[in-house]
């Protein structure tokens, strides 16, 4: 997961706090005093420091479970999640109030554009309320439902959430998706209406929306301005009063949930854990329920929000753990850790990351292959949810087939690759994992299962051997001002979506729910939606399994020869338009040759679209005299050299550019 922005940012600020001597504030109460030395001089200046340098350790035994609250903040993009987190940290003295703590989390352009927030940092807050010392663990969640699995794991460590809604914009698609995730996890939901200081703020309207959509009485909404600090204290009080303490047992053997992990090149994997049962200490031998590998705990601590070592962590508490894991795949989100030789029932709900969108990635220039490879390796060190398989294309050379959790995940990954590693790549049009239920006994025997997943169109089994094909579907939520409803419904219908729900969430806002085939939204749906609603509609989606689909394999032929790179699996209803579009793009990018080129799209033996590139009738330099020879020879030789690199399909020469134009992700204009 992409935690870099969040971690780096808070680490930097904590350092500043420590330099001004304010670091102590976060550690009230005798049981929190460092066990040796003074905090000011022993505070680890940087997480890169080896653990041996840190002598101070906090004793966490003094927090009874009833004084612990585990919660999360969820919100649509820009509704103020990070600003609220800043204020909560300031109020509890975790970070210095005098600093200008402006939220700066959403660093990547794509995050701002596409409505994703980088997950907030996990932090343990100490707060004194009505004479009692509380430990409030703010647990991060990734900001988008591409990561709904990760969100659900993070939420499973919580008992409640703060649902932040902008007083001006009201409920947006992501607000709805987030709410239902929390609702399904049976968490207490505290609605927080933020930005009440804005001129156009209409908190009453938002209260009504919340009541209507989420069935939460309007008097439960807390109205605040995180920016100005108005009424933020009451949020903390609501966390204590309305969220129950975790139901855990310190006496049972250790049972810890991994809800996040990051990779540090000096210290290895740092796992964020929530303890459901038992105690874990430095030096303990632990094991993973998923991999069964065993490790020795080198370091544990809480996040305050920077790492703060502790002797132990107890049931109900949340912190980090370093145990010599070399790879993020060893600390997968949702995994359960237990004490070696004391196995426990793993926490429910663990799944390995399941890519939903696949795309080929190739270096623009093959000489860049190794650089791109090392950039990919570095990026995937921090993101185990990206699957990487080597692939090669006759046209594009050596590359990879990457699997992503969703579209935004893919965009973020690609953008990071470009921004952080300066890698220029060709990303092919994303595809989704189709399935086929086999009927042929022979094939079933061959695959050793009845239902197979088709990632590469070349593996698409023939209809005669298949009972049915399945395609992944998602439940999409669109919230829009009602004047755009008509256009949006037409867009959805064109994308083969089925309306499942429609309601007015207030006088002029509509919430639409559609069941979309995933492949219909993977390329340009979001952009189309934004453009036809002048940017006002918001969209979010969640996994909704698979549905039967009439899928066909479409071949592209050049003078009767199949172009392997362009074989496509497509829905029957879309075959003609997709085939026509590919043929047209090819026509525009294939150079004329000495003979006519027929470009055809075909399903089996049936031609469904055709374009023609006419033969050259004249291709000869008109004037070639004494002064023209050098230039002409140079040009001819360069062209002849370029021709050697062309891919030949039958007798037709296809430049790499033509493949790129057809295969590359591009939005319809």
């Amino acid at each position: 997961m992409w935690t870099l922005a969040g971690r780096g940012w808070w680490r930097g600020r904590a350092l500043a706090a420590s330099a001004t001597g304010a670091a102590h504030r976060g550690l009230p109460g005798p049981h929190l005093m460092p066990s040796g030395g003074s905090a000011a001089e022993c505070r680890a200046p940087d997480r890169l420091c080896s653990s041996a340098d840190r002598k101070e350790k906090i004793d966490m035994s003094g927090f009874p479970v009833e004084n612990i609250r585990n919660f999360s903040i969820i919100a649509h993009v820009d509704h103020g999640k990070s600003t609220l987190a800043d204020r909560l940290l300031e109020l509890t003295g975790t970070i210095d109030k005098t600093k200008n703590n402006r939220q700066v989390l959403d660093k990547l352009q794509v995050e701002r554009e596409r409505g994703i927030t980088v997950k907030a940092q996990t932090a343990s807050l100490f707060y004194n309320y009505e004479g009692k010392q509380y430990l409030l663990n703010l647990i991060d969640t990734p900001g988008h439902v591409d990561f709904s699995y990760e969100v659900s794991r993070s939420l499973s460590a919580c008992q409640g959430v703060l649902l932040v809604v902008d007083a001006n914009e009201g409920i947006q698609a992501q607000t709805v998706a987030n709410f239902f995730l929390a609702f399904e996890a049976q968490l207490s939901v505290i609605p927080v209406i933020n930005k009440i200081d804005l001129k156009n703020a209409d908190p009453e309207r938002v209260e009504k929306q919340i009541e209507k959509v989420f069935d939460i009485p309007s008097d439960e909404c807390i109205k605040i301005s995180a920016k100005l600090g108005i009424n933020v204290e009451s949020v903390l009080q609501a966390v204590i009063e309305r969220i129950p303490p975790p139901k855990v047992h310190r006496k049972n053997p250790l049972r810890a949930l991994v809800f996040d992990s990051t990779f540090d090149q000096y210290r290895g994997v740092i796992a964020n854990v929530a303890l459901f049962d038992g105690v874990v200490s430095q030096g303990d031998k632990i094991a993973s329920a998923h991999t069964h590998k065993t490790y020795e705990v080198n370091e544990i601590g809480i996040l305050n929000p920077n790492e703060q070592q502790t002797h132990k962590l107890y049931a109900g508490q949340v912190g980090y753990l370093i145990a010599g894991m070399k790879d993020v795949t060893e600390a997968q989100i949702g995994d359960t850790l237990y004490l070696h030789k004391q196995p426990v029932e793993p926490l429910p709900g663990f799944k390995s990351a399941k890519p939903m969108v696949f795309a080929g990635m190739y270096p623009v220039d093959q000489s860049e292959y190794n650089n791109l490879k090392s950039a990919l390796e570095k990026l995937t060190l921090n993101d185990s949810s990206v699957t990487v398989h080597r692939d090669s294309s006759l046209a594009l050379g050596a590359g990879w087939r990457l699997g992503f959790l969703g579209l935004l995940h893919m965009d973020v990954f690609n953008q990071r690759l470009e921004q952080e590693y300066n890698a220029s790549v060709i990303l092919t049009t994303p595809t989704v994992p189709y399935k086929a239920v086999l009927s042929s006994a022979k094939l079933i025997k061959e695959y050793r299962e009845k239902e197979i997943t088709i990632i590469n169109p070349a593996q698409f089994p023939d209809k005669s051997k298949v009972k049915e094909y399945l395609e992944p579907v998602v439940l999409g939520t669109i919230i829009t001002p009602d004047e755009y409803t008509g256009k949006i419904m037409m867009l959805c219908q064109a994308r083969r979506a089925v309306e499942t729900d429609m309601m007015f969430i207030d006088q002029n806002r509509v919430m639409l729910k559609y069941l979309f085939p995933l492949n219909e939204i993977v390329v340009d749906f979001y952009d189309s939606l934004k453009s036809l609603s002048s940017g006002y509609a918001s969209f979010d989606y969640e996994d909704a399994g698979y549905q039967t689909a009439e899928l066909v394999k479409m071949d592209i032929l050049l003078n009767g020869n199949i172009v392997e790179e362009l074989v496509t699996v497509v829905h029957k209803d879309k075959a003609h338009s997709v085939g026509k579009a590919i043929c047209e793009r090819l026509k525009d990018s294939l150079p004329r040759q000495l003979f006519e080129i027929a470009i055809q799209a075909a399903i089996g033996s049936k031609i469904i679209a055709r374009e023609t590139v006419k033969a050259y009738r004249k291709n000869v330099l008109a004037k070639c005299y004494g002064g023209d020879i050098t230039r002409k020879m140079k040009l001819l030789k360069r062209q002849a050299e370029g021709k050697k690199k062309l891919r030949k399909v039958g007798n037709v020469e296809v430049p790499k550019d033509a493949f790129i134009k057809v295969l590359k992700t591009q939005s319809n204009k």
């Binding site: 040759q593 000495l594 003979f595 006419k614 050259y616 009738r617 004249k618 291709n619 000869v620 330099l621 008109a622 004037k623 070639c624 005299y625 004494g626 002064g627 020879i629 050098t630 002409k632 020879m633 001819l636 030789k637 062209q639 002849a640 021709k643 050697k644 007798n651």
Partner: protein, 442 residues
């Protein structure tokens, strides 16, 4: 044949006498009296124009005033220097190109020709061509050029449509052009060529063929058809980029070319090269030298040459380019006798590549004898006989390889540049795989 220096001034008169004798002979088969390495064609570049044409990106300058005496002296000096360096004994043709060489005075043309005749053998029947712009060439002036030794004119007529001529930025009208053509034919019967352009923006096939037919009623025995190519940096290019003019349609241009070739064939013209048509044997020997990869010297700013500097002890053919800008070129000529800016030795394979690419532009193509003069070891059959790709081209009717040699068919000539993309790599491959042999003489 060689004229002694003392009688050089009367060379032009002798040449006029010889003109009629030579007229009956065909070009391209002129008898070779000296070895190839001692023969050359000479190109002389006059870099000035009155006005910039919209389509031309050639090396030319619009001067405020030309110091013609200085220019003349430099052209003479450089011609002398290069002739000496080359060790050439016989100059078989001279071509005054530009720019607009008809803007130069006949004295300058005479001075260059006399210098050549003094330095080497310039046979009286050598082809001496001058490019002529219709407006800068009244009949009296053309006669003066004839007296100076010019015996062939190439008229940049370009179009018989006044609207098109204005579009091209030409200074003449269609009637100017026809008058110049008539005067030229009167003075140089059977020795006048005209250029006609095709594929102009918005030009249509029918009207263009009309122009060609009209031209056939007026023209002499030589026509060049040139498809307009839009060159970067020209006004026309910018106008098309900015959509002020429609882009020329390559389909329409191809059709004009095909129809035009057919019309000229019916009128008795031989298409002896991609863009050049002649009847009654009026081929340009000078240009033929380029396509046969003969030696040529380039004199004047930006002129190109290809010769073996035997006079300086060289034994490898070089591609040479003279300094582009006239003032700098003149300074260099005054300082070192020549303005050669760049000399690139041509490798054996490179020369063969040129033999192939240039030779196939002609109707006779590359004969086995011609090829053997450049490459005695590896025959055309060795190079192209076994290639499947070449075989496909032959089967498709683009290319012929037989007892005469290698040449394009009628269809193949129009797409030669596509054919060369297959032939050149084939030549390279055969060259690399050849069994090393002792260095052939010549």
């Amino acid at each position: 044949m060689a004229l002694p220096g003392a009688r050089a001034r009367s060379w032009a008169a002798a040449a006029r006498m010889a003109q009629r004798r030579r007229h009956a002979q065909g070009a391209g088969e002129s008898p070779s009296l000296a070895p190839r390495s001692q023969r050359a064609a000479l190109y002389v570049h006059w870099p000035y124009c009155e006005k910039r044409c919209c389509y031309c990106n050639f090396n030319k300058y619009i001067p405020r005033g030309v110091e013609e005496a200085a220019m003349r002296s430099c052209l003479v000096t450089e011609a002398q220097t290069l002739l000496r360096l080359s060790g050439v004994r016989r100059v078989e043709s001279v071509f005054f190109g530009g720019g607009t060489p008809s803007l130069a005075s006949p004295r300058t043309v005479a001075a260059v020709l006399e210098a050549v005749a003094q330095a080497t053998c310039l046979p009286a029947d050598s082809e001496v061509t001058l490019e002529v712009n219709p407006t800068s060439a009244p009949g009296s002036r053309l006669a003066a050029f004839g007296a100076a030794g010019v015996n062939r004119l190439s008229i940049g007529l370009q179009s018989l449509d006044d609207t098109e001529l204005r579009l091209l930025g030409r200074t003449h009208s269609a009637s100017n052009a026809l008058r110049t053509l008539a005067e030229a034919r009167h003075l140089f019967p059977g020795r006048v060529s005209v250029d006609l352009m095709l594929g102009l923006p918005a030009q249509q096939v029918g009207p263009w063929l009309g122009q060609l037919r009209e031209l056939l009623r007026h023209c002499d025995d030589h026509i060049s058809l040139y498809q307009l190519s839009l060159e970067r940096g020209t006004t026309l290019f910018t106008q098309v980029q900015q959509n002020a003019l429609p882009a020329p349609d390559p389909e329409i241009a191809a059709e004009m070319y095909q129809e035009g070739r057919a019309v000229l064939r019916e009128a008795g013209f031989r298409q002896y090269e991609v863009s050049n048509f002649a009847r009654n044997g009026a081929l340009s020997t000078h240009n033929w030298t380029y396509w046969q990869c003969g030696q040529y010297l380039g004199v004047g700013p930006g002129a190109h040459g290809r010769f073996m500097p035997q006079g300086a002890g060289g034994y490898i053919r070089e591609a040479r380019i003279q300094t582009l800008e006239p003032d700098n070129w003149m300074k260099e000529v005054m300082l070192c006798g020549h303005g050669t800016r760049k000399r690139v030795p041509l490798g054996e394979l490179e020369l063969l590549e040129e033999v192939l690419a240039m030779g196939l532009r002609t109707d006779v193509g590359i004969t086995h004898q011609h090829w053997q003069q450049f490459e005695p070891q590896l025959t055309l059959w060795d190079v192209f006989g076994a290639s499947t790709e070449v075989k496909v081209l032959r089967e498709q009717g683009f290319l012929l390889l037989d007892h005469r040699g290698l040449r394009c068919s009628w269809e193949g000539l129009a797409v030669l540049d596509s054919l060369l993309l297959i032939l050149l790599p084939q030549l390279q491959e055969a060259w690399q795989q050849r069994t090393p042999s002792p260095v052939p003489g010549g």
